[in-house]
Symmetry: C2
Subunit: 406 residues, 2 copies
């Protein structure tokens, strides 16, 4: 029997207990022995909940109990999770986590400590909820040089954008609906400004490229400025708009960014709708691959944490994670990265086209009858810096959205 402790009895923590209870027998079979929750650490008490008899308020009880082999850290946030994780690893206990903030900030260090102590720091649940992506990157796609990882990594923003596309609603309405349905938090900033996706792509990039990618270095733009009119153009072009978190190797450069992007019908990410997430990977031998599933939610995320616990049980505490170096990966300035842009401007096509083509070069214009006094166009491929320069020359744009180049 393997005894574990769960740190935090919130959404994910209670999910971990539920998954372990519901699938007790199949899990025991796969792990080779029964997995039992001995402690749940929480500041609160849960009178009436069968979990109450396992609740402790003091981490010392857990870290000093030699029968605890695995700790599931599902509290979120950097502290006290960081201190608890470090102490558990140093005490020879493996840690499985869903905590993206902590992995993004201290992943390299915690992986190193785990390795030195012959235990594991596992974080499948930190990116893409229930979608297996960390382990495939770590142990399946090892014959490949990974050239690109591009994901829809945030379910809240994907739900909002899907609603805007399906119902023609404005951002504010769609956000409100997401909040009412519990898909967005009351303070939605971390999601809608792209910070959540940014942390996740930093983790995936660190793992894929083998060096620390600091999330502060990742250019991040949220979806708050996307309007119902932008969506109308996207639909007219048979495209969709997705918040993509992406890192890409181009020659000697590695670019990483989070931003709303126009995605074409042929793209496997096109039909990833609602709260679903997906991660597209390009390997130099494998070609294109994509992993799709529930990116968040109590049970899918808990399922990923439990998958890590089972893996740890099977591994017999042999270190299984590839680590990435604490050395910082120097991301290239996205101003030098190349793509096409979709642009909306005021005025009439006939009057403005000459000026536009003089500045932007040949463009593909799009005029929508329902949107008078403006039109849109798609530029040729250029660097972000070139685009900014042209924008300065032209003057005020209504909006501009990047276009994904597959």
């Amino acid at each position: 029997m393997i005894q574990i402790a769960v740190l935090g009895y919130g959404t994910v923590g209670s999910g971990v207990v539920e998954v372990l209870n519901t699938n007790k027998d199949t899990i025991a079979k796969k792990a080779g022995e029964e997995i039992q929750v001995k402690y749940v650490l929480d500041l609160r008490d849960f009178p009436g909940d069968p979990i109450q008899e396992k609740v402790v308020h003091d981490f010392e009880i857990i870290v000093n109990d030699p029968t605890i082999r695995v700790v599931a850290e599902v509290m979120g946030g950097v502290e006290p999770a960081y201190t608890f994780t470090k102490r558990a690893l140093l005490a020879g206990k493996s840690v499985c986590t869903s905590n993206k903030e902590l992995v993004a900030r201290h992943g390299a260090e915690l992986l190193k400590i785990a390795k030195e102590n012959h235990v594991n720091y596992l974080f499948e649940a930190s990116c893409g909820g229930g979608i297996p992506i960390i382990r495939p990157l770590n142990s399946s796609l090892t014959g490949d040089q990974i050239d690109e990882i591009t994901g829809i990594l945030n379910g809240t923003t994907n739900y909002i954008l899907t609603k805007m596309i399906q119902e023609g609603s404005e951002f504010d309405e769609a956000l409100k609906e997401a909040q009412e349905k519990g898909y967005a938090e009351r303070n939605p900033e971390a999601d809608v400004e792209g910070h959540d996706a940014c942390r996740k792509i930093a983790i995936l990039s660190s793992l894929a490229f083998g060096k620390q990618v600091n999330f502060e270095d990742v250019y991040t733009e949220g979806i708050t400025k996307i309007s119902a009119s932008d969506i109308k153009y996207a639909k007219a072009m048979d495209d969709s708009i997705k918040l993509l978190a992406s890192s890409k190797r181009v020659g000697d450069d590695v670019y990483a960014m989070v931003s709303p992007v126009l995605v074409g019908k042929e793209d496997p990410l096109f039909s990833v709708n609602g709260v679903f997430n997906a991660i597209f990977v390009h390997g130099n031998m494998l070609g294109d691959a994509m992993f799709y599933g529930s990116g968040a939610g109590k049970l899918p995320t808990a399922s990923a944490v439990v998958g890590d616990i089972v893996d740890e049980a099977k591994s017999g505490s042999r270190n299984v994670m590839a680590s990435w170096s604490e050395e910082k990966l120097d991301l290239s300035d996205i101003k030098t990265s190349r793509k096409k842009f979709f642009v909306r401007v005021y005025g009439e096509l006939e009057k403005e086209l000459e000026k536009i083509e003089a500045i932007f070069g040949p463009v593909e214009p799009i005029v929508l009858e329902e949107l008078a006094g403006e039109f849109g166009f798609v530029t040729e491929e250029m660097t972000e810096a070139e685009f900014e320069e042209k924008e300065r020359k032209y003057g005020t744009l209504i909006s501009r959205i990047r276009i994904r180049n597959l």
Copy 2:
């Protein structure tokens, strides 16, 4: 340094050598040591190819060389691959393979022999080419009870069906084009009759359900009877037709089958086109997940074999695969499985509808102007046996296609 032997220098075998050469440095980093091909077993010689100096014609050299730790069996077919694999495992060498026939037929036994000899039998490349699916089933989705695996597991048939949908062509034309492009073999039977997909779903089902699923027990229907007119109806219903290989737990029953199926727009499998493969998995905690990528081809398949070799190098020959029991899983007769059917009949809707509804119950009719003298309809959900009984009562149908119930 880890020395390996490659059995068979065909498409996949030469791909394995190419992947190991091209990504030599990143692979060495991930494996923890360099991986070197010491022998290539083939009946042929390859004068002028740098591989020639490693070519041997006698398996005894490989099995008796204690420096060989891993054997990549990429010859295909049951014999001599079965004998070679068994002897390699008994000699304490791990075996990585792309050989679906062998895994489907003798997987349980070979996994058992591997376990007894403290080595591994790894077969990521046997299903879905480069798509990581075996390892996620084996070590990621372990917190879940898997209720369904449904895959587009054969690139040739998916290419043919995609062509038929995009170009309105008949099966024979699309097959000819696939053969000209090298996507279909001169004798296409194994692909178009569903036998290839059948072996793959047998492997995936055995792994997911933990007992031997014999491929002979899987109901299998190919795509040769799908016509351009069937496709016209599918398009009119906004559906696609895919060859799905599926196994599903329904209460105490497990059903497995391979057959062409109408797939709706909301289904993540809908937009899997061309030679791409995808595997949809439903777990009782995870919900829906899907894995998408190149299901075949030299380099993607070789990339999966090399991923297994790297995993083996990292595992230090500790047994990492969950095995399935040699005990046979009793599949339920698909005659008791429930679904809706799309049916085409001769005649005019007005004249036939009464008779049809008297037999089939309420239906949704579809009339296409371009197809005179016939019409189609969608039935309510019923068992396969009920449908057959109704068909007998009604008389000759033009065609019937199953409809996927998500």
